[in-house]
């Protein structure tokens, strides 16, 4: 992936007039000060009206299951999955913002605190994540992107979906 970025970067440098086409769009959402994003084409929908049914005995990061028009999805407590600080988790428990993502066969629902805007980011600003990110499990972060006000962390959907990965 990083190789591809390198290519993209060189492309942008050589043809600055195509800059608009060389941006990526991200759906963003917040956790306190943290800003997360998923590529817009990986997000199926955002839904604020899904009831979460808790599943006892489930892994800690699973908030429960939700019903999306007859399909039953696993709802992931993003804060717990990413290992965020306690305060953030508490607030999150009240929120019911479902970001539905994943493959069409078995999507998952991410419970987030607050939904942000869709933002466009030039590809040139997308970088691999640094070795450590304060307060976030790095293995779920695919790229980072420095924005004027804060850092956008692009999540790794496949890692989030993979039950083998410890939360």
């Amino acid at each position: 992936m990083s190789d591809m970025n390198q290519n993209n970067i060189s492309e942008i440098e050589s043809t600055p007039e195509l800059r608009n086409e060389d941006t990526l769009e991200f759906t963003t959402f917040f956790y306190n000060d943290h800003l997360f994003g998923l590529p817009i084409d990986e997000v199926i929908e955002i839904n604020r009206a899904l009831d979460v049914t808790p599943v006892p005995l489930a892994p800690d990061y699973v908030a429960g299951v939700v019903n999306l028009r007859g399909q039953i999805l696993t709802a992931i407590n993003l804060a717990k999955r990413l290992g965020l600080k306690k305060e953030a988790q508490k607030e999150q428990e009240i929120s019911h913002n479902n970001v539905i993502t994943g493959n069409r066969e078995e999507p998952i629902s991410l419970l987030v605190q607050r939904i942000g805007d869709v933002i466009s980011v030039p590809k040139s600003q997308i970088e691999p994540p640094p070795d450590t990110i304060a307060g976030v499990d790095r293995s779920f972060v695919k790229f980072v992107c420095k924005l004027p006000r804060n850092l956008l962390m692009v999540l790794d959907r496949e890692a989030l979906e993979n039950p083998e990965k410890a939360g």
């Binding site: 006892p56 489930a58 429960g64 039953i72 998952i108």
Partner: protein, 906 residues
Amino acid sequence: MSMEDEILKDFLAEAKENLEQLDQDFVELEQDPENGELIKSIFRTVHTIKGTAGFFGFTTLEGIAHFSEDILSKVRDGLVRVDEEITTILLQSVDYIKAILASLEQSGKEPDDIEYLDFIVELRNFAEKLTKEKDEDKPKEQSSPEETKNAEPETAEDDKVVQSEQETTKQEAESGESKEDKSSKTETAKEEPVKAESKKDKAPTTKPKLKKPAAPTAHLTETHVRVDVHLLDKLMNLAGELVLSRNRLVQIATQLSDPELITANQRMSLVVTDLQEQIMKTRMQPIGNVFNKFPRIVRDLSRGAKKQVQLRIEGAETELDRSIIEVIKDPLTHMVRNSIDHGIESPEIRIQKDKPAIGTLVMRAYHEGGQVIIEIQDDGAGIDPEKVKAKAIEKGVITPEQAATISDREALMLIFQPGFSTAEQVTNISGRGVGMDVVKTNIEKLGGTVELNSEKGLGTTVRIKIPLTLAIIPALIVRSGGQRYAIPQVNLVELVRLSTEAMEKNVQVIGNSEFYRLRGQILPLIRLNRVLKCEECDDKESSSSGLNIVVLNSGDRQFGLVVDAINDSEEIVVKPLGQHLKHINCYAGTTLMGDGRVALILDVVGIASTLNLRAEDSKRQTTLVSDKLSGEDERQFLLLFTIAEDEYFALPLALVNRLDKVSIADIEIVGGKEVIQFRGHSMPVIRLENYLPISPLPEQDHYHLIIFHMNEKDIAFLVSRIDDSLDTSVEVEDEAFKQEGILGSAILKDRTTLFLDVFNIIQIYDPDFFVVPKVATAHQARILVAEDSSFYRNLLSSYLEAAGYEVVTAEDGQAALEILEKEDFDLLITDIEMPRMNGFELTKAIRSNDKFKDMPIIAVTSLSGEEDRRRGVQAGVNDYQPKLDRDQVLNAVQNLLGSTEMQQAA
């Protein structure tokens, strides 16, 4: 091009169907070689394949079909008789045709393999050989002028057909690339005239008939439409969604209580239910679709094993879900293989054993209680438990010591252990690396069960129970910890609601486990809240107002699931769990409720396993006991308690009526004996140290009471602490501590534990306690007790002697029979599972001996299964009782002795 594809698709679909039919037809033909209709039907099928293959230019396929047709035409015309050789080669060609079709379906091309051409040559030679034989056999017939004349017009037509066919083949051969193809084609061409000739012979008589039956086939296709399976699955899903939407509407309608809405809703409800049923039906297929493959399989297998087997199929029309049909095919094949390979004996042996030379294999399917039962039954040698044991020891599945203790029935179940095969030699039929364990796992995955019954020398029956469908199931909705859960109705036995009062009386808390006494049976209770680890959400309200127990059946054991509330039963659509949740074995899936929220479906077997885990935990601690893989029959719940520190005691939980606590101040002394007030009576309490050589009860403010209810009276033991309960098999050593009031000892949880003889102790305390005025028989009745476990033997004789009978004991059926030969007895009480000779065998032996064939027999067991009861009655047992239920056993003894006395008097 696409049109040709379309035609090819139709051809393949039709050909496949026809070939399935062919397999069966050939086998039938072998048994009924004179069946002209059958031959014609086969001939037609092969002919169609040949024609279509020619049309598409599939030369190999055409070649095989052609020569098969050639052979068939001779059969049809009565020139040769169908024998095994012919059937075999024809079946082989069917297999080749199938392989070619499969390849066509995949790649659109015929397989490019020399093997097929070799087979064509073999087939051709065979056909030629038949022609020669025919020529030698029937030269006269051919020369008969009359027949030839009659045949002429038909033949001319035939020849034309052949001519045109030949032309197409030639074209194909020319366009064909491989030389070999060409050569085989030329051979085909050479062969044609021979075929035409052979057709001439009897063509006049058979031809007109041949055309008639073709009509109904054409008619049939109009009423049936081929539907893509995926489309059906999708419809099924949509129907499921519709059911959910309907459920939601019903709820809203009830809330609004608008009569018009309710009426409209009810109507829609009916339609939806009907629609759902109809769509379900589209998924249902007769099990015959699988069964029909077996005549061929059985034939091939029995030939391979040099055995003669006749297959009988019953209930082929029984319908079940398509998805299930697919999954059961392999397990069934495996079991049929086993039956033929290991079960049915070779003809010589069968004749020696006075059985018909031809073995019978029955495949039977029928509906029973919302489930489908499939039985595979053979009349072969049956399974020898001893052989199974030996094999199990050899394979390291069990140790020789274990083998000595397990019953025959358990030995049979060892077959389902991984890595097991009883065949003395691994033949090419079975022993393919798939064991019965795979069969069992596959069936269990479907929510089904497998049972095995076998009588040595008489045969084996395997019984499979599977649900009708997996997609929509009836379920009971319960509530626990504020959430709803669905329990599949299949596992449901009954619902019990206990008032606070009844709960206090009948639910015992021992250690961490709870038990409920349900009609004399000990039912372990599981609290759903605890299993799901949400005890903090334990509903205070519900626990104060009694208990809701859902009695569930998880394969071999029952347990009670305690839930907060029981809602309703509903048809639910099973939806799978996501991959983050799949591993949790307490859930079988999820479903949507009428209000659109999700409910989890409980996996009853998974929940039961949490109970087993607990039982196993304690089993692990029982060093001595756990080493024995002892019979389920002998397993029981024990109550463990202490009187003074470091002295441990046990008694069977089933004897205990209830447990209670008493304050020292409540114990009164009446007439030199200690009593307490209990249920409005004064109940005697026994201090065990007065009757047993043990340390005295230490001074405590409160004591625990173990209360017994026997002979219409209550009596209690005073103990300092109730430790635990243990579900275990007992192996009591009766030598070390044998004395009055003690049955023996065993090591439980690493501690030497004394087993108390409750009856004996009570009798020492009050010799009149068990005296029932009614037992005033003229002479003291003599009872023989056959029981292999010394613990139970002592227990039984203890309470029988207490009731005034003279008791003699025997260690097993064989010993009992020997004693019976020497002495006279009025009655026999026998255990079922015993080494050397079990209770059923003993009963049969007694019933067939003139000396004591009328002796009353009571069979006792620690579990009373209906199946055992039935077998007992069949064997000739007069009564059947749980061995720990003293009052019932004594009643039965009295009744039987009374009736025999009356008979003697009369």
